[in-house]
């Protein structure tokens, strides 16, 4: 299932970067597209804003088909404080922009991607393309929560992944 998690992350990251190249984040001194996976990063006291943070939550595995099917829930949290130049009065607009970016990235076709195995990937070594695709359902957007001027929302999306030989 790690292959599916990695594939979904890199697919979403590429789509967000294509939709808004300016959506970037600095992680350990490196500028990256503004999508990260919480469990892959150092614990932080203050989570970053103006980017999309992925967390993997529920998991179900069904044996009904020739290949076991894993259904994983990905919670995507994003927040903004607005910009200081606008005295944070643009925080609603910035959150709306992130809503639109995430929705566009997740509902654009195809809603699937070839599953990639990153276990042997590295500098100059591309991930291995596996035999099946991951695919995902419509995102469900939760209510906005407010903390002082910070606006935050979590969207969830179910990601499906057939388990190939050696994955289970």
């Amino acid at each position: 299932m790690q292959n599916a998690k990695d594939t979904f992350y890199t697919t979403l990251q590429a789509r967000i970067a294509a939709l808004n190249p300016g959506r970037t984040i600095i992680v350990r001194g490196t500028v990256r597209p503004g999508v990260l996976v919480d469990e892959n990063e150092l614990p932080a006291l203050s989570p970053p804003v103006d980017c999309f943070r992925l967390r993997w939550t529920k998991l179900e595995v069904a044996e009904a088909s020739p290949l076991p099917l894993a259904a994983m829930t990905c919670a995507i949290t994003y927040a903004t404080d607005g910009t200081s130049g606008n005295a944070a009065m643009d925080r609603g607009r910035l959150l709306s922009a992130m809503d639109a970016e995430l929705a566009a990235a997740l509902i654009q076709t195809p809603r699937c991607a070839p599953k990639l195995n990153y276990s042997a990937a590295g500098v100059g070594v591309a991930p291995a393309v596996m035999g099946t695709n991951i695919f995902w359902a419509d995102p469900v957007f939760g209510a906005v929560t407010t903390s002082d001027e910070r606006l935050e929302r979590t969207a969830t999306v179910q990601v499906f992944d057939y388990q190939e030989a050696g994955e289970l």
Partner: protein
């Protein structure tokens, strides 16, 4: 160095929705448009091969087999010794996600009319009163499928956003009429009041103006029938109308594509479909007080002969597996 790839087990296709495509049936010749899945099955959904026209997504797709298989019995007491197909029949029903001219026509199953802009003082009529004069196409600059050259004087009567119908004048012909697609069948000139605008009233060759410059109307998308002939004229229309009860049966060649999440694809090809119901809608509540109104359509499949073996069939289902799937 050789590489051996690993094939994986085929799983049931997982698909979220289907896409529909239209192609005309040459009614006068009785010739449908055949789709060859072996040659063209992997086309990109947004750009179907010519002459197929994208009808958009559809919902609640339901195929029904009406073929009757009867037992052949012999002996006493009778024992089934074989079977025979006594009737071949198939129907298909679905709802269009898009409400366009072509979709509404197909769903209505008959000659849907364009509500042509009426002449001043025209008497009221259910499918639109007597239409105003149409604008002839000029020979220079030449018109194309997406630009209509009518001159600056005639262009004054049109605005960006107007819908237009483009076709020839009616001049007494009988039989199937309509550029590109047989839109109606004219039994006699008297039946259509010898109305010069009649063919433009029923034609499916319509477009929407997105720009006007120096007497040339630019359309948002190319006309379904392609570049117009110099004999065609342009009429402004305000909408479309279908009726319960007309005699004409619209017939079309249909292709439905279900794209699987694994890169596989199911193609359903019905070379000849005719509507088996009149105009109908499906009302779905989605957020009070709003309701979604979709065009509901149901069709009966008519037969063609498969040239590979001479079999008479009414539909073809093809499956293109994802790469590297065990057969």
């Amino acid at each position: 160095m050789s590489t051996t790839l690993t094939a994986v087990a085929p799983v049931a296709p997982a698909t979220d929705r289907l896409r529909a495509y239209f192609a005309p049936v040459n009614r006068a010749a009785g010739a449908p448009t055949l789709f060859d899945p072996a040659q063209s099955g992997s086309f990109t959904l947004g750009t179907p091969p010519d002459p197929w026209i994208d009808l958009g997504w559809i919902a609640k797709f339901a195929r029904k087999c009406g073929t009757k298989v009867d037992p052949l019995r012999a002996g006493s007491p009778a024992v089934t010794v074989g079977q025979v197909r006594a009737e071949i029949d198939a129907t298909v029903a679905f709802e269009f996600e898009t409400w366009g001219r072509l979709q509404a026509t197909l769903a209505s199953g008959s000659q849907q009319t364009n509500l042509l802009a009426t002449a001043s003082g025209a008497a009221a009529n259910g499918s639109g009163g007597v239409a105003g004069a149409a604008a002839p196409l000029l020979t220079s600059p030449a018109s194309t499928a997406a630009t209509l050259s009518i001159g600056t004087t005639a262009a004054v009567g049109f605005s960006a956003g107007n819908l237009v119908a483009v076709d020839i004048d009616y001049s007494g012909q009988t039989g199937y009429v309509g550029a590109g697609v047989s839109a109606a069948y004219v039994q006699s000139a008297a039946a259509v009041n010898n109305d010069a605008n009649y063919i433009r009233r029923v034609t499916l060759n319509v477009g929407v103006i997105v720009g006007i410059d120096s007497g040339v109307l630019t359309l948002a998308t190319p006309l379904p029938a392609g570049a117009p002939t110099s004999a065609m004229k342009v009429s402004k229309l305000v909408g479309f109308c279908d009726r319960e009860g007309p005699s004409f049966f619209q017939e079309w060649s249909a292709l439905f594509v279900a794209e699987g999440a694994q890169g596989d694809r199911i193609l359903y090809h019905y070379p000849r479909l005719q509507a088996m119901q009149g105009s109908a809608e499906s009302i779905t509540a989605f957020a009070a007080p709003f309701e979604s109104v979709r065009l509901a359509a149901a069709f009966r499949a008519l037969p063609v002969k498969d040239n590979n073996d001479g079999e008479t069939v009414v539909c073809f289902r093809s499956y293109l597996p994802a790469p590297l799937r065990l057969p």
